[in-house]
Symmetry: C2
Subunit: 356 residues, 2 copies
Amino acid sequence: MQVRAAQRGKEPALATIQQVADLARVSTATVSRALAGKPSVSAATRERVEEAARSLGYVASATASSLASGRTRNIGMVMPYLGSWFYAAVLKGAHRALADGGYDLTLYHLEDTTRHAERRQRLFDEFLRRKRVDAFIAVSLELSDAELERIALLGKPIVGLGGPIPGVTTLSLDDAGVATLATEHLLSLGHREIAHLGGDEAFEQDFHVPAKRRAAYEQALRAAGVEPDPRLIKNADFTIQGGYQATLQMLGAPQRPTALFAASDEMAIGAILAARDLGLRVPEDLSVVGIDGHELGEFFGLTTVDQFPVVQGRMAAETLLEELSPDAPGDHVNRDLPYELVVRKSTAVPSGRPRE
Amino acid sequence: MQVRAAQRGKEPALATIQQVADLARVSTATVSRALAGKPSVSAATRERVEEAARSLGYVASATASSLASGRTRNIGMVMPYLGSWFYAAVLKGAHRALADGGYDLTLYHLEDTTRHAERRQRLFDEFLRRKRVDAFIAVSLELSDAELERIALLGKPIVGLGGPIPGVTTLSLDDAGVATLATEHLLSLGHREIAHLGGDEAFEQDFHVPAKRRAAYEQALRAAGVEPDPRLIKNADFTIQGGYQATLQMLGAPQRPTALFAASDEMAIGAILAARDLGLRVPEDLSVVGIDGHELGEFFGLTTVDQFPVVQGRMAAETLLEELSPDAPGDHVNRDLPYELVVRKSTAVPSGRPRE
DNA sequence: GCACCGCCTGCAAACGCTTACATTGGTGTC
DNA sequence: GACACCAATGTAAGCGTTTGCAGGCGGTGC
């Protein structure tokens, strides 16, 4: 103890609660209570304590406070991806909401590397048990039974974002609803040859999002009396590049669709660029609709089903904070995430080709 | 104390060091030393302790450990932006390096909102003094003298990324070098009418990056005997949209440049799209070079000066960890960040128009 | 045979808070 | 005027580690 101060020779020894107590001529207990906003402190005393704290520049040590109270006021955010705008937006939304609630956010990024399994193991073996955080937000993370059990053992609240996790509060997007909305938008414009650019399961293993979207797309078509054409369905890797390539192939084939529904905005943008490169006009020759609410959507005039990633992050944080509040109901509510069709210039009534 | 356990009725009471000590039949001191890898523990004892810890699933409490040792093994990362791919990449790089070093990362996002000043104030008044972290990484954050003083008072290491901060270890990009490299690339291809899409200072206030790049661009031109033409210089907001608009105007004017150097890849991509929309071919009618190493650069065949954001994050983290190591030199080394010209398909020898 | 020296280990004191429980006056009631 | 009660504060016991210091013990040198 006191060693670092000696070693380093500096450490200006930030004020402790004792010093504040001395200055305000009360006990440390009262200082703690006053600064925590507890009701059982007289107005006069509180004022005196606050003044003392201010003049000393006192801020309670998070570590000492955590150790004593058992609460860290820190939330762990576990994300398997980070590079994309989408996850950055989710992070942003969650961070803001947590900061507003007086919580810090510690990030744990589970990346797709060769050491993925090792890191993931370490996450569950160490990070989660280290008591550095009060609770977790797990984004797009499908958990194994063993992992779920470990979490249950910890007894710490956890909110999942992106897909139902058994026994855990989850916020999820109604993938079928989203895909139906997009498909019906195209149908309502009069399109019948509607292609689908789905996601490759290999790139979004969790929760089978691509499959759900594809199924809803097919069902919406059938409901409108259109039999899905397997030749109009392609999978890509969720990127602009992938959408571009897939669309190039699709539009090169003899039976060209008049509309295309992509499972992500990035693929949709790729599709728009591919169409342009083939000399096709969007939306006259090809209507395109995506999913996500990508920041570039506006620039490309892309019609999309926005899923408000920033809001997702915020909702996850708010839900978690509710669960952490003392009067929490205790049961796990699974909320649905909002989504909304944003119509821009990439979709229109089919034209340019003879209608049969 | 013990309250939460009672209140909530759960909390499986994770194993404490005492339990490990009992099981291994040693004192808690020895357990601590054995698990920390201290040399003064016999091999036999160490083995016994490790076995006990393993069987109990013991992981030391971060808060207790921090309080006792004064070290948190947690780093604060302060970022003014978060939404863009660039900062997400920096974050990713830093996180990985910190995780490898056994450190956690707590994020502090200083966003551009109306409450910006308030949050920033709070950052310096509370977050930094709360002792939740051992040190900081400040990304693209220009600090006021008052803030610098506060940091100095804390005595905690800090590494800045993105611009020289007086008295602080900083990693910065040689903006002049980058702009010179890009400009000279175009000059070496034979271009003489080279436009510049600079950044608007309003959108990147810190460190005057746009001004430095522009100055270096002009100097490179002069060095090659070309007088910079003010009509060929425009500012935009670093986005695709902004680059698109500015380029549209620029190429609509009578004296059209044969090449364009944009201060960011996103503006460069906007420029490429604008050129296409005007019926110009890239690179035949217009060569375009950007700066950054954007993930979309490959797709658009964009020649760029890559500044490796992931590496920047990693370097910042590694530099900080070095400073935290006990045998740190103590002086502040300011390193330069790497950059590299990546030639793709958007630049070529000028052609298509009569050379004079 | 003795003094010393190292190597391991244990003891116990922090670390800086929070909070259960005790204490102290002051008010209100009958 | 005695009693009960309540509000405000103090006392002190933790919270779960780390680490300075001391001590035991076996070996070594002379």
